[in-house]
């Protein structure tokens, strides 16, 4: 089917419509809100569920060199995309200060789990299969970008005196979402389909519905960012749309080269295109306080996330299906 059909099919799922509802309600400043604890709980649920599912898939399909290759490529993407980001920001918004530039770069090397979840669901709806181990790639791609970003910053002569504190390394290596994704992945791997059976009714069937409410929440949060986005220079907004497309292209090509399935290629493209707003901001506030969170969180949450979820995902799938 053509791109517009794909885009429309995506747009008209309850999930994306719920995201739009949240976005609209937030921009109109409705007092609609989802309690903080609930948003966090839904994130835990979604990450555990996707990790478990991936692990069970691996338990059945087994793994080989393809997993190893995907992990290596994922780590490389996470580490090197920030350098592309820096170059792009230099061009599109030269005025950006060193610290903020490095911080933004780190966010775009890292990934957004929700974007991945949404893409995975969209693939399922479109009947496109993908490798179960992609979940492990998600977990692995969260953090190398942080190292890269801090390295870029230090080279630029910025950083914090607290950055060498152990808390940073905990943030980087034992970040909650990484532990949860990998932990659930391993659990799924161990228990396999039989063990999964016990908890499937909770982690499988309601998944799409939870994702729907979670995207409603994401819409509300993105909107509150957008309302405060006045300060963002247009050049960076452009960056927030160009960068994911470029990254998706690179990630997709590498995915093809290591022989991933079409679904796997799309997911690697989506991961490359997505930007973090959980793990990386925490690390940046700690290690790069001079960088402006109003810029990097707003860019990934209010510009790149909506772009990927609404246009990016169907676009990457359409391109992949057209070319492969």
């Amino acid at each position: 089917m053509g791109f517009f059909d794909a885009a429309l099919a995506n747009l008209l799922t309850p999930m994306i419509l719920a995201f739009g509802l949240g976005l609209g309600a937030g921009i109109l400043r409705s007092d609609l809100s989802i309690p903080e604890a609930i948003g966090k709980a839904m994130a835990v649920y979604l990450m555990f569920a996707i990790g478990l599912k991936g692990g069970v898939a691996v338990n059945q399909q087994g793994v080989g060199v393809d997993l190893v290759l995907a992990l290596i490529v994922g780590a490389l993407l996470s580490f090197f995309l920030p350098f592309l980001a820096v170059a792009l920001i230099r061009i599109l918004s030269p005025a950006t200060d060193v610290a903020t530039r490095a911080a933004v770069a780190a966010h775009y090397g890292s990934i957004s789990v929700v974007t991945f979840l949404t893409a995975a669901e969209f693939l399922r709806l479109s009947g496109v299969v993908f490798e179960g181990f992609m979940v492990a790639v998600v977990a692995l791609m969260e953090t190398p970008a942080i190292i890269a970003g801090l390295w870029i910053a230090r080279r630029g002569g910025v950083g914090s005196r607290v950055s060498n504190s152990s808390s940073l390394y905990r943030e980087v290596l034992l970040n909650g979402s990484v532990v949860l994704l990998l932990g659930a992945f391993v659990i799924g791997w161990i228990v396999g389909p039989v063990g999964e059976g016990d908890v499937k009714a909770f982690f499988d069937a309601p998944f799409k519905g939870v994702l729907t409410l979670f995207l409603l929440d994401m819409g509300l949060l993105a909107a509150s960012r957008i309302r405060q986005a006045g300060g963002i220079p247009p050049g960076l907004v452009v960056y927030g749309i160009v960068m994911p497309v470029l990254s998706a292209a690179i990630g997709g090509v590498l995915g093809v080269l290591i022989g991933l399935s079409t679904g796997g290629v799309v997911l690697l493209a989506v991961l490359s295109a997505s930007a973090s707003y959980i793990a990386v901001p925490a690390a940046m506030r700690l290690a790069l306080p001079q960088a402006n969170p109003g810029v990097y969180v707003t860019l990934s949450l209010a510009v790149t996330f909506p772009f990927n979820v609404v246009i990016g995902i169907p676009l990457y799938l359409w391109v992949a299906e057209t070319l492969l």
Binding site: S160, Q228, I278, R285, L286, P293
Partner: protein, 103 residues
Amino acid sequence: MHELFRKKRLEIIVEGALVETVLGMLDREGATGYTISSASAGRGDAGRWQRDDITPALGRATILVVAKEDVARRLAEAVYDLLADHAAMILLSDVEVFRDADY
């Protein structure tokens, strides 16, 4: 009527991402204790923030320390230097307590 003793109330309002770091410093500098409570929103030079579930690191917490004047002063200085390039608020004020020995 029990006697009251003058102490200092030190309040440090800092981002969630930095709380552990500050607590470590307070322990090292010899605070007898502290109490943490979390703020829900705020505004400053860097604009508005709001505690949310997506980027907890940007939420802020208040660390309260009651201590002898000199200790409180020393703790404040240490935290101030530690957070020189972070957006933290450090407030000192007077307070009276019954248990002199505790602080």
